[in-house]
């Protein structure tokens, strides 16, 4: 098993972000953590990346418990960071170097790669992500789409076996969203494990084989993307869809669930 949690609880002061959570994620699977804002997706990703540690319960990565003490050991920390990469939702948080090249080289250098290998791999990664022309630019001066690409490249340069993504298409224009999804779908040729936190239901079937629907820090449903998308009651209960109204040229006003997928079509109303 890649990740396992049992009775996991994480609180920000008194506010519970994750509540008594027990899940299992298999090797090589593509899992979407789906939930509205504040459902605990980002917190869970950080726990899986060994950045946060729960106040109760256990988290295991390939059978080994993730604790603060374990990460105090350099050998374990380097080995874990080499295998698991996390792309943060906000690129401003992740892009702190003065050039794109330095940004992408940061991870390999911290993990002690030989410098010739770093030079070579960074060059390859920049070319693969179509950002080689940006290598001398300051990351914080790039457009939102370019920043996301650099953030993703800065993690995928390590070629981790497990990729954790926090809202990879948030705040991107439609073309950048599509490019980002293409990059993720192509990455690893299906041999990697990808865990994506998202509330963009339109991406689900492209990025995941299985969905964990979170609400209030608990998993309230676990199913294939198509099944989750068909369950309108679940989506409404977890604030993942809302009634969307639009006016046609004839003056008719339609109201239906606002989901960018052909799966949810029931319940159209005409007023």
């Amino acid at each position: 098993m890649l990740f396992e949690t049992a009775g996991l609880t994480y609180r920000y002061d008194r506010l519970a972000a994750i509540e008594d959570l027990s899940i299992s994620i298999r090797e090589g699977s593509r899992v979407a953590l789906v939930g509205a804002n504040g459902s605990g997706k980002s917190t869970l990703l950080r726990i899986l990346d060994g950045l946060y540690f729960g106040q109760a319960g256990v988290v295991r990565f390939r059978g080994e418990e993730l604790t603060e003490d374990r990460f105090a050991d350099d050998a374990f920390a380097f080995s874990f960071r080499r295998q698991v990469g996390l792309v943060f939702q906000n690129p401003d948080v992740q892009l702190f170097n003065s050039t794109v090249f330095d940004e992408v080289a940061f991870g390999p250098l911290q993990l002690g790669w030989p410098k010739s290998a770093v030079q070579e791999r960074v060059g390859e990664t920049l070319a693969r992500f179509g950002i080689a022309h940006l290598k001398d630019r300051a990351p914080h001066r790039l457009s939102g789409g370019e920043q996301k690409r650099v953030a993703l490249a800065s993690v995928l340069v390590l070629d981790p076996a497990v990729l954790l993504l926090d809202e990879p298409t948030a705040a991107l224009d439609p073309r950048s969203q599509s490019q980002m999804i293409d990059l993720l779908v192509e990455w690893g040729g299906g041999a990697k494990s990808v865990i994506t936190a998202t509330h963009n239901l339109g991406d689900l079937e492209d990025i995941a084989d299985r969905c964990l629907v979170l609400d209030g820090g608990r998993v309230v449903a676990e199913a294939a993307p198509a099944e989750v998308l068909r369950d309108r009651e679940l989506l409404e209960r977890t604030n993942l869809v809302h009634a969307h109204r639009h006016r046609h040229a004839t003056g008719e006003v339609h109201s239906h669930p606002h989901v960018h997928s052909g799966e949810v079509k029931r319940g159209d109303e005409t007023r």
Binding site: R46, D49, L51, D74, A77, F78, R81, R82, G85, L86, F88, N90, D92, V93, Q94, F96, N97, S98, D102, A105, F106, G107, L109, Q110, L111, G112, K115, V118, Q119, A138, H140, S154, V155, L158
Partner: protein, 276 residues
């Protein structure tokens, strides 16, 4: 990013100026890649050499010695293609303004031989006061010029690595590294907060209202700073950061570096000896 010119309170204008200054500071990275004398030297030599000159200026008890170190800084600026107008705008005027607040009262408050009496006021400039103020101003101007030369001629990340070579604590270096990047982001946030407030208000706030707004904004910014710093640290950890700064460019001392280091040490030692 070019900000539109607009009127505003003291705080807003200050933040806007700081924002522009930080934007310019990022452009300093490009001058660090130029082909001047200091740009060709190893970052460690520059940190050690320029710091030893600052130390010599701070320890000197003769005005001409400090003036000579200041002149040397000017020569280094010319050889490193750093324009005087940039030094004047970024170091000299600022240092003069901040130090002047302390130095000007010293002209009148330091007891000693009267040199000049201000007409209409019972204030007397004393010789000792003038000397004290001159020492203070010249030391600060010299230190600011040398420090700015380091920043202008060395990529910031190399300065940080050089500081680690000199055993400056990891936490301090990490804070410096993040501050240089994120102060711009926070100033941008502050600027947008003021713009947002302006877009929702009509007319100018007066006195108490303006102070309340400033205090509220400061609170929000402090909270965002705290949150951002935590997030950035997590993002660094997630990519294997364990406190040490690792770079692609290794420092390597060449003969020019050794020669420059010897010159810096000799000049600083000479300054300390002559100024004792």
């Amino acid at each position: 990013m070019k900000l539109p010119h607009r009127q505003g309170g003291f705080l807003e204008r200050t933040i806007e100026r700081l924002y522009r200054a930080m934007e310019r500071a990022f452009h300093a990275e490009s001058s660090a890649a130029g082909g001047g004398l200091l740009q060709r030297l190893d970052a460690r030599v520059k940190v050690a050499g320029l710091f030893s000159l600052i130390l010599a200026a701070a320890m000197a008890r003769r005005l001409w010695v400090i003036a000579a170190i200041f002149a040397l800084a000017g020569v280094l600026a010319v050889l490193s293609h750093v324009p005087f107008r940039v030094l004047a705008a970024r170091a000299w005027m600022g240092a003069l303004a901040f130090t002047g607040v302390i130095a000007v009262p010293a002209l009148f408050l330091t007891p000693g031989d009267a040199l000049y009496r201000v007409p209409g006021l019972d204030w007397t400039v004393t010789a000792q006061g003038l000397t004290t103020a001159s020492y203070l101003l010249l030391r600060v101007e010299t230190a600011a010029t040398l420090a700015l030369l380091l920043v202008f001629t060395t990529p910031w990340i190399h300065v940080l690595k050089a500081l680690r070579v000199f055993r400056v604590p990891v936490v301090f270096v990490a804070i410096l590294g993040m501050a240089s990047r994120y102060i711009l982001l926070l100033l941008e946030t502050a600027h947008e907060m003021f713009q947002s407030r302006k877009s929702r208000s009509v007319g100018a706030l007066q006195g108490a209202g303006r102070r309340r707004m400033a205090v509220a904004s400061a609170g929000v910014l402090l909270s965002r700073t705290f949150q951002l710093s935590g997030e950035v640290y997590l993002a660094m950890q997630a990519r294997g950061f364990r406190g040490e700064v690792h770079l692609l460019d290794d420092f390597a001392m060449k003969s020019l570096d050794w020669l420059a280091l010897a010159c810096f040490v000799a000049l600083a030692a000479g300054g300390v000896w002559a100024g004792r």
